[in-house]
């Protein structure tokens, strides 16, 4: 399949839904009282990713993440890094599937066995990736409309059911700005903003370095706003303390909707948002993983999709033993052992190597 540039709106929608999907539930850990500020503060250092990744793409023409790794590190080490990134993408996809399954199990399908939900879901993800990144991007526009419409609906319905109490956000900055900034650096930069590294694989479709910078900046800005508003809604509805101990705060907030005892139980809408978002996010990760494996082991397009999707499904069951471990592992250990090295350190070193080995004007 020959890659072609995707429509700007579709690509923007894909990045935005990618950033929002699971982070709208797990995004800002409520370790600090003013979690809504964390998202806003995290936006500024997260722009560093745009600078680093943009510089990587502009250092060599027509090269994506995998080609750049091979160019900078040499054939053997480069291919080893490609394999590491492919595994990383598959692992993150499996974590996202687990997020979705946890939510669905606790809200909608309590009696359905986990392997059944997982297998059916990953088969849909694999089917979504068969059309390539263009098909995923077109699907993203539709998903973005649904997600924004549903979030607006929930906000309005909460307002009409008198559940939004603005005083619940007080006391403002009770422990000072320090913990908020620390939480932004410890969690929110790496998840969801840092996961944008996956889009380096689709360099041709996003229009090179220039397109990537512009697109990602707009997506970051929009995601930051939507996540902060979502956090604010959660705090206004549940209060700081209840939000802190809630596993799915937005879901619990949506449960409070009650208009004349007619419009109730709107939490299913949140589950739908997560399902659509996870579907898209997993499709992007799976497609990137497929590209990585095709880069190393060769093979035709579309041959890896279904087996890899099933593997991601199996990994999602194995990845953690219970929900508590899943959250602890995801918000602490994965950040330090996988996100920071693969989102920042390796790209920075790659950029440095590319700058040293292939200076401007010299033959490449």
């Amino acid at each position: 399949m020959t890659p072609s540039k995707i429509n700007f709106v579709d690509m923007f929608a894909m990045q935005l839904v990618f950033l929002l999907s699971t982070s709208i539930i797990f995004g800002t850990p409520s370790v600090v009282p003013d979690s809504w500020l964390v998202g806003i503060i995290a936006f500024f250092p997260a722009c560093l990713f745009i600078v680093v990744y943009g510089a990587m793409l502009s250092s060599q023409k027509d090269m994506g993440l995998y080609q750049l790794l091979e160019k900078a590190w040499g054939k053997i080490i480069g291919k080893a890094f490609v394999l590491v990134y492919a595994t990383y993408f598959l692992y993150i996809a499996s974590r996202n599937i687990r997020d979705m399954v946890e939510l669905v199990m606790s809200t909608l399908l309590r009696m359905t066995p986990v392997p059944v939900i997982t297998t059916l879901f990953v088969l849909i993800v694999a089917y979504a990736t068969l059309g390539g990144i263009q098909a995923i991007a077109r699907f993203a526009s539709l998903v973005l409309c649904i997600v924004i419409m549903m979030l607006l609906t929930i906000g309005i319905l909460l307002m009409f059911s008198s559940s939004l109490i603005l005083e619940q956000m007080l006391p403002f900055l009770s422990k000072g700005i320090g913990p908020v900034v620390l939480s932004a650096f410890q969690h929110s930069i790496w998840f969801p903003y840092g996961e944008i590294v996956v889009f380096l694989v689709f360099h041709k479709e996003i229009g090179g370095a220039k397109g990537f910078r512009r697109l990602t900046l707009y997506a970051f800005l929009s995601a930051c706003l939507i996540l902060s508003v979502s956090d604010l809604i959660q705090i206004w509805t549940l209060g700081i303390e209840e939000k802190k101990y809630s596993s799915f705060a937005l879901l619990d907030a949506a449960r409070l909707i009650n208009i004349a005892n007619i419009i109730t139980r709107m939490d299913a809408i949140i589950a739908l948002i997560i399902m659509f978002g996870t579907l898209l996010k997993c499709a992007v990760f799976l497609f990137a993983c497929t590209e990585g494996l095709m880069h190393i082991f060769k093979g035709k397009t579309g041959k890896y999709n279904f087996p890899l999707a099933l593997l991601a499904g199996a990994f999602s069951i194995l990845v953690t033993r219970n929900s508590a471990e899943h959250l602890t592992e995801g918000l602490t250990y994965v950040i330090y052992t996988l996100h920071i090295p693969l989102q920042l350190i390796v790209p920075l070193l790659t950029l440095l190597l590319l700058r040293i080995r292939y200076r401007k004007g010299e033959a490449t």
């Binding site: 394999l83 590491v84 492919a86 595994t87 990383y88 598959l90 692992y91 499996s94 066995p113 986990v114 392997p115 997982t118 297998t119 993983c289 494996l293 190393i296 082991f297 060769k298 093979g299 041959k303 890896y304 279904f306 087996p307 890899l308 099933l310 593997l311 499904g313 199996a314 990994f315 069951i317 194995l318 990845v319 033993r321 471990e325 602890t328 592992e329 250990y333 994965v334 052992t337 996988l338």
Partner: protein
């Protein structure tokens, strides 16, 4: 090569999960690895992994082409003509 790719990424994925479980539970590699293996008590995962490898093998060994009976080539043009003839 597809099946090799799947095998490598499965091993890499299991190693990553083992490594993270070692950090979370502060247990030895062997202990964590035995816990992680999808053999007991929930065997469903092993079937999913087996299905993935089966799919990979099917594509890798070109089974769809091999299972086609020799000499039976679909002739769309001929079928079309027959259909036309029947209509006439």
């Amino acid at each position: 090569m597809i099946i090799l790719g799947l095998f490598v990424i499965t091993v890499m994925g299991l190693l990553v999960m083992c490594f993270l479980d070692m950090l979370v539970f502060k247990q030895s590699f062997l202990h964590v690895f035995v816990h992680l293996l999808p053999i007991y008590p929930d065997t469903s995962t092993i079937y999913i992994i087996a299905a993935a490898f089966l799919m990979g093998a099917w594509v890798d060994f070109n089974m769809t082409e091999r299972l086609k009976k020799p000499g039976k080539q679909p002739n769309k043009q001929g079928r079309g003509n027959n259909g036309d003839a029947k209509q006439n």
